[in-house]
């Protein structure tokens, strides 16, 4: 299978092409440059692989959670690419993508991603039948104090939430911590391929963000134009 994947949900912008199990990836750290660099990165990766859209089987994107505006850059671009090519598209959780980086390290991980405003996006991922780390329960958003663990298999805490909120390390003293991991398009391509094989591919308009933070209570009067 051949899958193109993109992610712009965090301060890392990444693009990957998965070609029958082999992966080409390009990544860059950027505060606000995602919109400018995304498509040139896609173009370079495609050229490097000598690949055109017609050679691909599907598309994948980091659907969130993450920075709202950032997530929508990948979603908008992948909607356009899917509409233009007719390729099916799947959205992959950025938390799940972070978890995959540790698939070789342990049976289960707690992922906490900095959500700003004193909150984290978080979820627990444990090894499933296919060897992948899959979501246990649901993903959530809330203050670091609201994160809880009832799965003894969890041996690692990963993600930028552990860096942003030291209280998390205190809450789970037994865990090994990696507080720098960010989602990568290579993992999104890999999870995307599995989802596409399961027949979960959607048409362009089905590519949508998952914000987790959906309540509009944070809509202050100051935000009204």
């Amino acid at each position: 299978m051949k899958v193109l994947a993109i992610d712009t949900a965090t301060e890392q912008c990444s693009v990957a092409l998965r070609l029958e199990g082999r992966t080409i990836e390009e990544r860059a750290m950027t505060a606000r440059g995602h919109a400018e660099m995304l498509l040139p990165m896609v173009e370079r990766v495609m050229v490097e692989a000598g690949c055109t859209l017609a050679d691909l089987d599907g598309l994948a994107f980091g659907r969130g959670p993450g920075a709202f505006t950032g997530v929508r850059i990948a979603v908008g671009a992948i909607q356009g690419i899917s509409l233009g090519s007719g390729l099916p598209v799947v959205g992959i959780s950025t938390l799940a993508a972070v978890a995959q980086q540790f698939a070789g390290t342990g049976e289960a991980v707690l992922v906490c991603m900095d959500a700003r405003m004193n909150e984290v996006y978080w979820g627990v991922y444990a090894r499933g039948g296919d060897g992948r780390l899959t979501l246990q329960g649901t993903e959530g958003v809330g203050p670091a104090e609201s994160v809880f663990l009832d799965d003894p298999r969890v041996v690692m805490g990963v993600g930028t939430g552990f860096h942003a909120y030291s209280v998390l390390k205190g809450r789970f003293p037994g865990l090994r911590i990696d507080d720098t991991a960010l989602p990568r398009a290579s993992d999104i391509a890999c999870l995307g391929e599995l989802a596409l094989r399961r027949g979960e591919g959607l048409q362009a308009s089905g590519a949508q963000p998952v914000y987790l933070r959906d309540q509009v209570a944070w809509v202050s009067a100051a935000q009204v134009k």
Partner: protein, 342 residues
């Protein structure tokens, strides 16, 4: 050349197809008014979330209306600014992703250039050069337009835009959101002479505008006055007269100063019936031809973006693969099609 236009700069999601030979082939628009009504104004994050849900189905719909497929397109144009950054990014990302996937050229269009050129979509379009009065929710300006992309700003609002003044005054009167068109509607049944408001900056030289004082005058005038429907209508009438008088006088002054033979009126307030009638009469008196877009192309739409983008693409202008979204983008930074823009 056949161009898809995409507009998501504020609270309207829109797509249109313009064909250089056959004209406008289709235009669809989805308004988010109901979404923002309970907040009394546009909530940027909610606007962006809605654009990302609505845009692709709108594009599919407009292609169907036009009786074409993506394979029949020669280019993609999108609003690259000015506007709400997050909202702009949705249209820009979809447009650039689509253009890249189809190997089509893409161009980012200035939203106000779109407004200024909207009358070009009418059966009898104006000819360059012309004087343009742009009166929208975010802008009020007079510009001398030598050609597309060659704009000399002669005057602009020092504070509130004309549309903003309509909306704020409507809110003061307790009219439902969005207030501007509603205020204009009730003004029709207002009695003349019940209220009188200042004509801001009319007695000062120059072509700048100021509307915030007018709003304050309304606040003062209605203080302690019970607001029944008739009083609301009376205030609306007097307010509208003050705005229209001011716009008319500044247009007359600008026409005289520039000697331009044509006046183009664009932007949401250009849909105002009283303004249209008064400027038409001004044209009759002075021998100036006056042009407007049809009312639905006065407010935000994608037809104007498809048209402006078509002119630029047809002249060979092409953007890089960068997804462009500029919340601020001064109009006078633009260059004519082909001469590469900022």
């Amino acid at each position: 050349m056949r161009v898809l236009g995409i507009e998501t700069s504020c609270d309207e999601t829109a797509a249109a197809v313009f064909d250089g030979e056959r004209g406008l082939l289709g235009a669809r628009l989805y308004s988010q008014i109901a979404l923002h009504a309970e907040y009394g104004g546009v909530v940027p994050e909610l606007a962006s979330r809605d654009h990302v849900r609505k845009l692709v189905p709108l594009i599919e719909g407009v292609l169907e209306d036009a009786g074409i497929t993506l394979a029949d397109l020669d280019g993609v144009a999108y609003t690259a600014g000015p506007g709400l950054a997050g909202a702009l990014l949705v249209g820009a990302s979809v447009a650039q992703g689509l253009a890249w996937a189809r190997g089509l050229p893409a161009v980012g269009v200035h939203h106000l250039e779109g407004h200024l050129l909207a009358p070009m979509l009418e059966p009898e379009p104006p000819e360059f050069p012309f004087l343009a009065l742009l009166v929208s929710g975010g802008h009020t300006l007079l510009a001398s337009v030598a050609s597309q992309g060659d704009y000399q700003i002669l005057g602009s609002s020092l504070d509130d835009a004309a549309g903003e003044a309509f909306d704020k005054t409507a809110k003061l009167l307790g009219l439902p959101y969005p207030g501007g068109p509603e205020l204009a509607r009730i003004a029709e049944s207002g009695r003349p002479g019940r209220f009188s408001f200042p004509r801001p900056m009319l007695h000062r030289p120059g072509l700048d505008f100021s509307f915030s004082g007018l709003k304050t005058a309304v606040v003062v005038a209605v203080r302690g006055v019970p607001l029944d429907d008739q009083v609301r209508a009376d205030v609306a009438r007097a307010f509208q007269e003050a705005v229209v008088d001011t716009l008319e006088a500044k247009c007359a002054r600008a026409l005289q100063a520039t000697g331009l033979p044509t006046l183009v009126v664009a932007g949401g307030v250009g849909a105002n019936r009283m303004l249209r009638a008064r400027l038409k009469a001004l044209g009759h008196r002075t021998g100036v031809r006056v042009y407007y877009p049809r009312p639905e192309f006065c407010t935000d739409n994608a037809a104007m973006i498809a048209y402006a983008g078509h002119q630029r693409l047809a002249a060979g202008q092409r953007d890089s693969l960068a997804i462009r979204a500029m919340a601020r983008w001064p109009l006078n930074q633009l260059r004519p099609p082909g001469e590469h823009a900022a």
